[in-house]
Amino acid sequence: MVDLETNGSRNRENFEVREHDVLIIGAGGAGMRAAVEAAGKGLSVGIVTKSLLGKAHTVMAEGGMAAAIGNVDPEDSWRQHFIDTMKGGKFINNWRMAEIHAKESPDRAYELEQWGALFNRTPEGKISQRPFGAHTYRRLAHVGDRTGLELIRTMQEKVLATDTKVYMETTVTKLLQDASGRVVGALAYTRENGKFIHYKAKAVVMATGGWGRIFKVTSNSWEGTGDGAILAYDVGAEMVDMEMVQFHPTGMVWPPGVRGLLVTEGVRGEGGVLKNSEGKRYMGDYDPERMELSSRDVVARANFSEVQAGRGSEHGGVYLDITHLGYEGIMQKLPTMHEQFLKLADVDIAKESMEVFPTIHYTMGGIKVEPEHCATTVPGLFAAGECSGGLHGANRLGGNSLSDLLVFGRRAGIGAVEYVEQNTHGTDIPEADVQTEIRRVLDPMERTKSDKDESPYLLQSELQDVMMEHANLVRDEDALKEGLGKILAIKDRVPNVKVGGNRLFNPGWHTAQDIKYLVQVSELIVRCAIERKEKRGSQWRLDHDELVDEYGSINFITKKGPQGEVEIERREIPPMPGHLSELLDESAKGAKV
C-alpha cells in the first residue's frame, strides 16, 4: 500500500494505491469463482464488493443449479440441456456459450460438492435433481429452497482459503484506462469512511450482477443497480440485447412492503398449481403440455393476462397453491417459502394459496463477451455472470443462472490469467485522471446547495415509476418512446443530485453514485426495446404481438458513441455449426436427444 500525502493543494485528495494482477469487481458466485481460478494460479487477486462478503444477490437463488448430470433422469445429456436453453432463449442466445454451459455445468456442480457444498440426495446417495420450468428432465441440483446460500457460502469459504484480498463495502466508480485504451485498474471508495483507493490491475473481471432496481416491483436487492454494465459501457464495451429483462412469474403481491419479493419456481417444480379467482387452473390455456412448468416468459404472460382479464386475486395477483404437499412436505422442500409467507404475509402456505404476480427478476442482456474466456470488446476487461449477456438469449431458464455463474466465472478467471501472463504492460495512469474522478464522486456532497438540488432517492423512485409504466412486461412503441423522453429528462437532472452528511457511511452519497448507472441502463433497455418489434421471450410488444423471423437471427448491440450518444447496431448471429444445428433440427421434429 502507498499512502500519498497531500502536496499542499486544497483540491488534491489522498488516496491509497493497491496493486493486483487481477481485480474482480463483484463478490457473487461469478466473481468468487473467477477469484478462486486466478488465485489458484498464483496470481495476486483482489475482489471488491459493495456489500459484506456472502451477501451478494446469489444468496437469493432458491430453486437450484441446472446441470445435466442425469442422477434422477439418466436420459438427460448436455445436448438436451443445450436445446432447452436455446429454446428458452428463443434462439438469439450465443450458441457457443449455451454449448459450453451445458457441457461444463456438471463439473461445476461436482466441484461445489468437492469444496463442501451439500445438496439433497437421491436414495442412491447421489445429488438429487428437481424439475423446473422448461427443462426437459429433472435437472436442478438443489438443497431445499436455499441453493444460492449454499453456493455463495461454499464459494466464500473457498475464497477465504486462498490469498485473495477481499475489499468489503467498497464501491468502484470508474474503470481506468491507459493511453492505448486498455483497462489497467479502477477507482473506488470505501463505504465505511469514504477513503479513495486506486486499484492498479493488469486485468479486471466484471461480475457485478444485474439491474433489477430500475423497476419498483423487483425481486432484486438494493445492489442491483447496473454498475458493472455501465462502467464497462463507459469505457467502450459493447452490450448485447439490453431489452431482455426477465419478469419472474411469481413475486409476492401483499403486503405492500414485500411486493415483488420472489416466490421460488421450486413451488411449481414441486407441483404447485396456478389458479385464477374463478378457481380455474388456467395454464392449460397457455401451454397445455408444460402447464405451470412452461418457461418463465410464458407463465409470466399468463399470470399477467389472467389479472388483466379481471380474474385476479384480492390484491391483484393470481393464486399459487402448494397445499397438496402438506405441512411435512413443505417443511422438507420449501421451508423458506413457508417462513416467508407466514412471517411477512400471515399466510400459511400449507393451508392456503399464495397470491403472486410477475416481478422483475433478472437481466438477460449485458456486456458482450466472447464465449471461450469472457473477454469483453475492451482489452483487459472480462465479464461473467448476470452483468454479461449472451447465454440466456431472450429468456433465462430457472436454474441456469447458478450454473452460468460458475461455468463462466471460472472461464473469466482463466481468461484473465492468460491475459496477464501474455502481457507485460504497466498499470500507471496520470494522477490527474484519478483526481478528476475523485472530484466528480465527491461533488454531490461537497457542492454548495442550490435550488436545483435533487434527492437521489426520489430521483431513483421517479425513474422506477417510469420504467414500471413504460418498459414493463407489456410494451409498445408509443409508450416506450414516451418513456425514453422521460428517462432523458431524468438524465439531465442527474448532475443536480445533492446529499447531506459527510463521508462516514453515508447511504445518500452512495445512492447518488448509483443514479447514473440506473438511468443509463434504463436508456439502453428502452432504446433496444423500441428496435425489437416483436414478441420474443421477455420482450412482449403488444403492437407487434408475434414472433418475427427476421429478428430471430439478430442481436441488438449497443455501444457508447464518440459524442456520448447510444449507438445501436443490428448484428447477425453467426451461423451455428452443424453439430449444434442438427440437435435443434432433431428436437424440432419432436425427438429427445
Binding site: K55, G116, W254, V258, K343, L473, L504
Partner: protein, 278 residues
C-alpha cells in the same frame, strides 16, 4: 402504451391502495458514532404489513438521507440488516412494525461490535475468525456417495445466513469482550458441520478447544433464542463439539492414543462409522 396493457399493469400495482385515514408510527433510532451517538425520534406513515426496515428506509428517503443502515435482500435470506429492536437482536426486514403496537420502538445497531455509524456496526472481526477455520478438505473425489441419513443433520447448521445476531447476544463476546479467545456461536455452527461432514478429513477439535475457546460457552442458549433460521445452536452445534472435545482430551484412552498417533485419534469417517456401529 395501449389502453389495456397500461390499465392492467396499474391495476396490479394499485390494488392495495389504502382508503382509511393515514396512520403513522414513531421510531427512536440510534444516530451517530460509537463515541458520539444518541437516539432520535422519527415519525413515518404506516403501511399495511410494514416491516421495521421499510420504516427506516422511508425515513432515509424522505427525512435523513445519510441515515446508515445495512441491508440487501429484504427477504431474510442474506442476514445483512441485523440490528437491535428494543434491546433484542432482530432482522429489520423480518420484524413487522405492528408487532410492536402499544410499545415504543427503539432501533440500535449490534452492540457486540464497534459501531461505525447509526445502525451499522463493524462486523469484520467475524470474517477474520472465519478465515482461521480449516476449510472443508476431502481425500475423496466428488461426486460423493452420501445418503440422506448421513447428511441430514448437516442441513441445519448450513442454513446459517451469517446475520451475526448470535454473536451479538453472546455474553462471552458482548459482556466479556473475549473476541481474542472465543469464536462465538456462529463459528461453532460452522465447525459443527465441518466436523460432522462424512467426507471431510480434517481435525479441528484442537482449534475448537484452544483457539475458538468452546469451553468458555456456559450454555445459556441466548444464541439459539435469536437465530432467525431456527438453528438450535447450543444443543446441536456447541454441545456436540464440547462432547467431542471432552472425549478427545479428557478420556484417558483417547489421550494416550493421540499422544502415540500425534493427531486426531479417529478421522471423521472412522468416528461416523464407529457411531453407526460398523
Amino acid at each position: 402504451m395501449t389502453e389495456n396493457g397500461n390499465s392492467a399493469a396499474r391495476a396490479g400495482a394499485a390494488a392495495v391502495a389504502d382508503d382509511g385515514p393515514k396512520k403513522t408510527v414513531k421510531l427512536n433510532i440510534f444516530r451517530g458514532t460509537e463515541e458520539d451517538g444518541k437516539e432520535v425520534e422519527y415519525e413515518v406513515e404506516l403501511a399495511e404489513g410494514m416491516v421495521v426496515l421499510d420504516a427506516v428506509l422511508k425515513i432515509q428517503a424522505e427525512q435523513e438521507d445519510d441515515l446508515a443502515v445495512r441491508w440487501n435482500c429484504k427477504a431474510a435470506h442474506c442476514g445483512s440488516c441485523s440490528a437491535e429492536i428494543n434491546g433484542k437482536p432482530k432482522l429489520l426486514c423480518k420484524s413487522r412494525v405492528e408487532e410492536y403496537e402499544g410499545q415504543e420502538i427503539h432501533v440500535q445497531p449490534l452492540h457486540a461490535f464497534p459501531i461505525i455509524k447509526d445502525l451499522v456496526s463493524d462486523v469484520s472481526w467475524n470474517y477474520e475468525v472465519s478465515k482461521g477455520i480449516k476449510p472443508f478438505t476431502s481425500d475423496e473425489q466428488a461426486p460423493f456417495t452420501m445418503y440422506e441419513e448421513d447428511v441430514e443433520r448437516l442441513y441445519e447448521p448450513k442454513k446459517c445466513i451469517e446475520c451475526f445476531m448470535c454473536q451479538d447476544v453472546c455474553h462471552v463476546l458482548r459482556t466479556h469482550n473475549k473476541h481474542e479467545e472465543f469464536a462465538g456461536p456462529r463459528f461453532f455452527v460452522r465447525n459443527q458441520w465441518l466436523e460432522m461432514h462424512p467426507m471431510d478429513n480434517q481435525d479441528r477439535l484442537e482449534d475448537v478447544k484452544e483457539k475458538d475457546g468452546v469451553g468458555l460457552c456456559n450454555i445459556t442458549k441466548c444464541c439459539t433464542e435469536v437465530c432467525p433460521v431456527g438453528i438450535k445452536i447450543t444443543d446441536n452445534s456447541i454441545i456436540p463439539l464440547k462432547e467431542r472435545v471432552a472425549d478427545e482430551y479428557y478420556d484417558p484412552a483417547k489421550w494416550l492414543m493421540r499422544k502415540i498417533r500425534g493427531r486426531k485419534s479417529m478421522t471423521n469417517r472412522e468416528a461416523e462409522a464407529a457411531k453407526n456401529g460398523n
